[in-house]
């Protein structure tokens, strides 16, 4: 089943390339819809079986066959085609399915080389699905690199004026980061003495990673070295301050649907890697790094919020707001990893919050980018101050935009609040200082979003925009779909939290056993 989810988009992409152009959009929409429905079926299938959603030691829907098995210079190198899912990855798979489908809908009016564009979008979906579904480290990094190519091309070909700079910046940043991650993967593979790189080896055996690694004259704690190497690539992807500057450029240049996917799921790959691999496989190193990570998280939140406040371009502002919001994920992870005597419940709460924030932020920021896309497609500008009073012309668009803003600033009954509240109530017990600093981000977020909204949408209508029309049904469809998801999670978060919880619980039990040693 997971194989189908991962490779259906690939098949669809090939079909799109071969089929006549007038069918392109419908083929892409059809296949992405099928993939989304399949991902939901994964969820309901497990729900129906009643066997729980599994954790990293007990992946659901798993498939595991040998693929590459070779000896290179006395070094046993084995890659297995191992796929599976658990509470950590399933929300991301569903989110990717949903956002990819909506992205196709949102790209309906792209005319420039539509076949190639849709194919790239589908290849991107495949890469991301692969990252979340992999249960083998080498397979993971393979999908991780595969996803770069379509993204690079999507920004570089269909982007705005400075698209080439943005595309290269994205690529170089990510490649430099992921090379460290790759080194980390080799290091952990070698040091644990595993015969293959399936997750189960490291999730349970993480405790074998202890001791010191000689480095030049001195030495460095081995778990910390592993953690930092692995984390380097994820930090770029999340993105964490100070390696975040590729994101505003990439977002500003990327077409709407690509921005949606970039913010909605690609950033989550970094956060997913951080939780699954760094925290799951190197908990000891994570614990040593947690105080620093907490401070970096607070910087992320405040820095991103501050930078959002002074942006003139709507998309750049939302890009910076992503930096800010991903800071809450970092905070939750830092708290879960931190040393301390606080009750273990708080760690679980913090990490569940971080995972939920990945989902919430994906839906909310995706919606925000769609909202900007609707208005940009008509007005061909995103400069906040160029508008004014547009709400009078676009009641539907402005209502949904405002809903997305409120979701983003953490209004209760919407998804963002649940995640942020969870993170704060968990992390305060372990990292009070960074939590207080990060909580101040909530005030700034309200400030920059509503200030933007007031400048662009409120006030007397700038007569220049008298001709603007409201969102069409096709344009409003992704917005309405996402607002329904956001409302559901905000009002009744039980189902998704129950899905996430088992994985988190297992992970923290292992981490606790390691740090207690």
């Amino acid at each position: 089943m997971l194989t189908a989810i991962v490779f259906l988009p690939l098949l669809a992409g090939v079909i799109v390339l071969l089929a006549p152009e007038r069918f392109t959009r419908w083929i892409a929409a059809g296949f992405t819809l099928v993939v989304f429905l399949l991902s939901m079926w994964l969820y309901f299938g497990l729900l129906g079986k009643g066997s729980g959603f599994g954790d990293v030691m007990h992946p659901q829907w798993s498939i595991d066959v040998p693929w590459i098995n070779t000896n290179l210079g006395g070094f046993h190198f084995q890659v297995r085609y191992a796929l599976g899912t658990d509470g950590l990855s399933m929300p991301m798979i569903i989110l990717n399915g949903l956002l990819s489908f909506l992205a196709v809908i949102g790209s309906w009016r792209i005319e420039k080389r539509i076949k190639f564009y849709m194919a790239m979008l589908l290849f991107l979906e495949m890469g991301v699905m692969g990252v979340f579904a992999s249960f083998d480290l080498f397979l993971f990094i393979l999908f991780w690199e595969v996803e770069l190519i379509p993204m690079f091309l999507l920004i570089g070909i269909w982007g705005g004026a400075r698209r080439k700079y943005a595309a290269w910046k994205f690529l170089i940043y990510t490649l430099v980061g992921s090379s460290f991650t790759l080194a980390g993967i080799f290091l952990i593979y070698v040091e644990t003495g595993a015969t293959d790189a399936r997750y189960q080896h490291f999730a349970g055996a993480a405790s074998t990673l202890i001791g010191q690694l000689p480095l030049g004259a001195g030495s460095i704690s081995l778990p910390l070295a592993v953690f930092l190497l692995l984390f380097a690539g994820f930090a770029v992807k999340i993105p964490m301050w100070p390696v975040h500057t590729w994101l505003p450029d990439a977002h500003t240049e990327a077409p709407t649907a690509v921005s949606v996917l970039l913010a909605g799921v690609l950033l989550k790959m970094g956060a997913y890697g951080l939780i699954r691999i760094c925290l799951g496989f190197a908990p000891h190193g994570a614990q040593q790094f947690a105080p620093v990570l907490g401070v970096l998280a607070a910087i992320n939140v405040l820095w991103g919020a501050g930078a959002s406040l002074v942006q003139r371009d709507m998309k750049k502002m939302i890009a910076y707001s992503s930096v800010s919001h991903m800071g809450y994920v970092l905070l939750g992870v830092a708290a879960a990893a931190a040393a301390g005597t606080a009750a273990s419940g708080f760690r679980e709460v913090a990490l569940t919050g971080a995972t939920l924030q990945m989902f919430s932020h994906g839906a909310i920021t995706g919606m925000l980018f769609f909202c900007v896309g609707v208005i940009y497609d008509k007005a061909h500008t995103r400069e906040i101050d160029a508008f004014g009073g547009v709400a009078s012309r676009m009641p539907v668009e402005s209502t949904l935009y405002l809903a997305a803003c409120f979701a983003s600033l953490g209004l209760p009954a919407l998804a963002g609040f649940v995640a942020e509240y969870l993170v704060f109530t968990g992390s305060f017990a372990l990292l009070p200082g960074p939590t207080i600093a990060a909580a101040f981000g909530v005030v700034l977020t309200a400030g920059y979003l509503l200030w933007m909204f007031r400048r662009a949408f409120y006030g007397p209508l700038n007569l220049k925009w008298n001709w603007l029309t409201d969102a069409t049904v096709r344009e409003a469809f992704p917005l309405v779909a996402l607002v329904v998801v956001i409302l559901f999670v905000g009002i009744y978060p039980g189902p998704i939290v129950d899905l996430i919880r088992p994985s988190i619980h297992q992970m923290l039990t292992v981490a606790h056993a390691v740090s207690a040693r």
Binding site: G73, G74, F75, I141, E145, V146, L148, I149, F152, L153, G156, Y165, W168, K169, I172, L175, A183, L187, V190, P242, T245, P248, W303, G306, A307, L309, V310, Q311, G345, F346, E348, V349, G389, A391, S392, P395, A413, F417, L422, F424, T425, F428, A429, I436, A439, F440, V442, V443, A446, G447, L450, R454, F457, Y458, G459, P460, L461, N466, G494, R501
Partner: protein
């Protein structure tokens, strides 16, 4: 059937009405030809919104703005008057509402009827719940568990409602005032293009406020707390399409006002959240009842700090110094909104919060926390009253008076050993202040203006409004036998009894100021020199704007009469010992240890005398027309003070300055750091190490996709390099 078991229906009714309007009547309204009016309004900015004569509305929905009309008027003689006429036009923005000739569409009317019926049922049910509680005062029904969010690692996040005596009172206040305001809005908002939207947002507010008062734990309370903030934001910005008033106008402008209200209260919520987190981490529960006992086992200093932080939330929501700046601006919303949200209910949420947590404040926390509450409250009462002396916008005066009265409530919570004194003032204030706002709305509706300098002698034209307004004015001034006397006097008296002489002095002096500014307002609006009954009824100085002042339709004056009746009845019931009964009721039926009501002693006599003195002083200036105010304001000592007060101590300017320097300075710093330092390093190293300059030049040939393969190859090379490197170590 036991009404207490049905308490969940109270928020469910307005919620159902909201959903029906959103899903049925509003879409139908749009389909059935609301589009024409909408498009026209969008073009004209605020076309179709002229205040004033019916003749003007004959221009149709696409009519020109109030500006144009003001220019058509005959040019008046003195520069003073010309300026006044311009201000008239400008004030029209703030006062701009449906006008008289405006008709509401059938679907719009249906929407409001749905809302009114739902609120009527909810109010009736609330009264039934209150009666049930009065019958059985010791009743402690268990929490109503609605549903579970989740339980993680033994930590519970659950959505529960809690009903007790305090909740029962708040339910009646919220649903009662909300019902009357819904009714009133049918008249006030008639013909507005956003008529149905208005009722939806009003219902949304009511639901949120009910969630807030029904909350059994901090999670639910915080949800309601933020949602009332949302409805407040939406309703302040209800006329978001208005043009900004010109500089110098006292009338606030909706778009920035809504932003300011939300962000300022959020600043308070930041402290509130930290307070909740401290309590949570130490007790691992959000539940109020559980917290009452759990906090006793925690370090007292920790709880004290937490409770002061929680009070920060109340400071923001209840507009106390120094976060009060948003409330005067919130008057940009339609007047029924000001009455319901920014006078009677939402702004009192902070008081409710402290009252709800009173057991923790009084027992588990150190005395410092309640002292902070008391001093902030008393200082705010005085501070806001001084500003109210100088304002000329009728709603502006009332806004500062609200801030001041909320300060009284906090002072009352602080000086007594029970929350009954503060809550009783909340209770009486909700009715008489809603009455004052609805009365001012009736005036604004009639004369399409909110500048008191252009009013006067209106009592003759709108006797019902004037009489009910006078009752409320006497009540807020603390004149017996009206309700305000019974609730305010104990606050002042208890401060003295408990030797809080600073609070006593501040609240007593504020009582004088209150009487003065409220009668200044009344006399400037309804009375004046030469009027009947010593200038209290009508007057020679007639209304000087345009429009024909007249009494409002029955949907608007009926709520005024009901609220005035409540004010009088509570006042008269005071003689029968309502105060003691109320305090006993909040105490769970146990008798209270002291006199919560006024007794005929020196303190009460002083309090009433001070109020009467304030009324007399105001009367000499605005009823008799003695010129001492003008002389005082022109004098070398009076002038700078007047300027300072008129400009609200320049706090808005100070905050703006601070935000611009600190927040925007840092933010710009961060953005510039990203652009020049981080990107400088990135671009620089990329160029030198990877020679990206060459590559980017080549990409400009346009065959970008050729690089796809190259990238993948590159990734594989890196993979190989690391493989070899790691292999070499071993």
């Amino acid at each position: 059937m036991d009404p207490v078991k049905l308490v969940w229906l109270i928020p469910a009714l307005p919620l159902a009405a909201l959903v029906i309007i959103f899903c049925v009547t509003r879409p139908l309204e749009t389909l059935l030809g609301g589009s024409h009016a909408h498009a026209a309004a969008a073009v004209g900015g605020h076309g179709g919104h002229e205040p004033g004569e019916p003749a003007e509305t004959a221009h149709g929905a696409g009519a020109q703005s109030a500006h144009a009309q003001s220019q058509e008027r005959p040019v008046e003689q003195t520069p003073d008057q010309i300026q006044a006429s311009q201000e008239q036009a400008e004030d029209g923005h703030g006062a701009g509402h449906g006008g008289h000739g405006g008709s509401t569409s059938g679907m719009g009317l249906l929407s409001s009827v749905i809302g009114i019926v739902a609120m009527g049922l909810a109010a009736a049910l609330s009264i039934a719940v209150l009666i049930q509680f009065i019958r059985d005062q010791g009743m402690t029904p268990p929490d109503t568990h609605l549903y579970n969010w989740f339980t993680i690692g033994g930590l519970k996040y659950s959505i529960d409602f809690h009903v007790d005596n305090l909740t029962a009172i708040m339910l009646v206040v919220v649903t009662g005032v909300s019902f009357l305001v819904h009714l009133y809005s049918v008249g006030y908002m008639a013909g507005d293009q956003g008529y149905a939207r208005f009722f939806m947002e009003l219902l949304l507010f009511t639901v949120s406020m009910l969630i807030l008062v029904l909350a059994a734990n901090f999670l639910v309370l915080f949800i309601g707390w933020e949602l009332v903030g949302l409805s407040s934001y939406l309703l302040i910005g209800f006329w978001f399409y208005h043009a900004p008033p010109p500089a110098g106008s006292e009338v606030p402008y909706p778009p920035p006002a809504s932003l300011k209200a939300f962000v300022t209260t959020r600043l308070g919520d930041f402290g509130f959240l930290i307070g909740i987190l401290i309590l949570w981490v130490n007790t691992q529960t959000f539940n109020f009842v559980a917290l009452n006992t759990a906090t006793k086992h925690v370090n007292q200093a920790t709880i004290t700090a937490a409770m002061i932080l929680v009070f920060c939330g109340a400071v923001g929501k209840s507009a106390q110094f120094p976060l009060h700046v948003w409330l005067p601006d919130a008057m940009a919303g339609p007047t029924p909104v000001s009455a319901l949200i920014h006078a009677a209910t939402m702004v009192a949420a902070g008081v409710y919060l402290v009252a709800r947590l009173f057991p923790i404040y009084a027992a588990a926390a150190g005395p410092q926390s309640l002292a902070v509450v008391g001093y902030v409250g008393a200082f705010t009462a005085l501070f806001a009253a001084t500003i109210a002396l100088t304002q000329n916008d009728i709603k502006g005066v009332l806004a500062y008076s609200t801030i001041s009265q909320l300060g009284y409530m906090f002072a009352g919570l602080s000086v007594a050993d029970t929350n009954a004194v503060g809550i009783f003032h909340l209770f009486t204030h909700a009715f008489f202040k809603a009455l004052l706002f609805l009365g001012s709305g009736s005036v604004i509706h009639a004369v399409a203006n909110q500048d008191m300098r252009k009013m006067g002698g209106l009592a003759k034209f709108m006797p019902i409004t004037a009489l009910t307004f006078l009752i409320a004015t006497l009540s807020i001034s603390g004149v017996p036998p009206f309700s305000g006397f019974w609730s305010k006097d104990p606050i002042i008296g208890l401060a003295y009894d408990h030797h809080n002489y600073w609070i006593y002095g501040m609240t007593l002096f504020t009582a004088f100021l209150t009487a003065f500014y409220m009668f200044r307002l009344y006399l400037m609006t309804f009375g004046g020199r030469g009027g009947a009954y010593l200038g209290f009824w009508g007057g020679r100085r007639q209304y000087r704007g345009d429009g024909h002042p007249h009494e409002s339709p029955w949907v608007m004056w009926l709520p005024l009469v009901v609220l005035a009746t409540v004010t009088v009845v509570i006042g008269l019931a005071g003689f029968a010992g309502l105060n003691e009964g109320f305090a006993k009721f909040l105490n769970g039926g146990a008798s209270v240890a002291y006199h919560p009501g006024p007794a005929l002693d020196t303190l009460t006599v002083i309090g009433v005398a001070v109020a009467i003195f304030g009324i007399v002083v105001a009367w000499t200036a605005y009823g008799l027309g003695a010129g001492w105010v003008r002389a005082l304001v022109a004098s070398p000592i009076g002038k700078p003070i007047y300027t300072l007060l008129y400009h609200r101590y320049y706090l808005d300017e100070l905050y703006t300055f601070l935000i611009r320097i600190v927040i925007f300075g840092l933010s710009n710093g961060a953005a510039l750091f990203d652009r020049y330092v981080i990107d400088g390093i990135v671009n620089g190293s990329a160029r030198s190490v990877l020679g990206i300059g060459k590559i980017t030049r080549r990409t400009q040939t346009g065959v970008l996709q050729n690089y796809g393969a190259a990238i993948f190859g590159g990734a594989m090379i890196i993979l190989l390099v690391f493989f070899v490197a790691v292999g070499a170590i071993h």
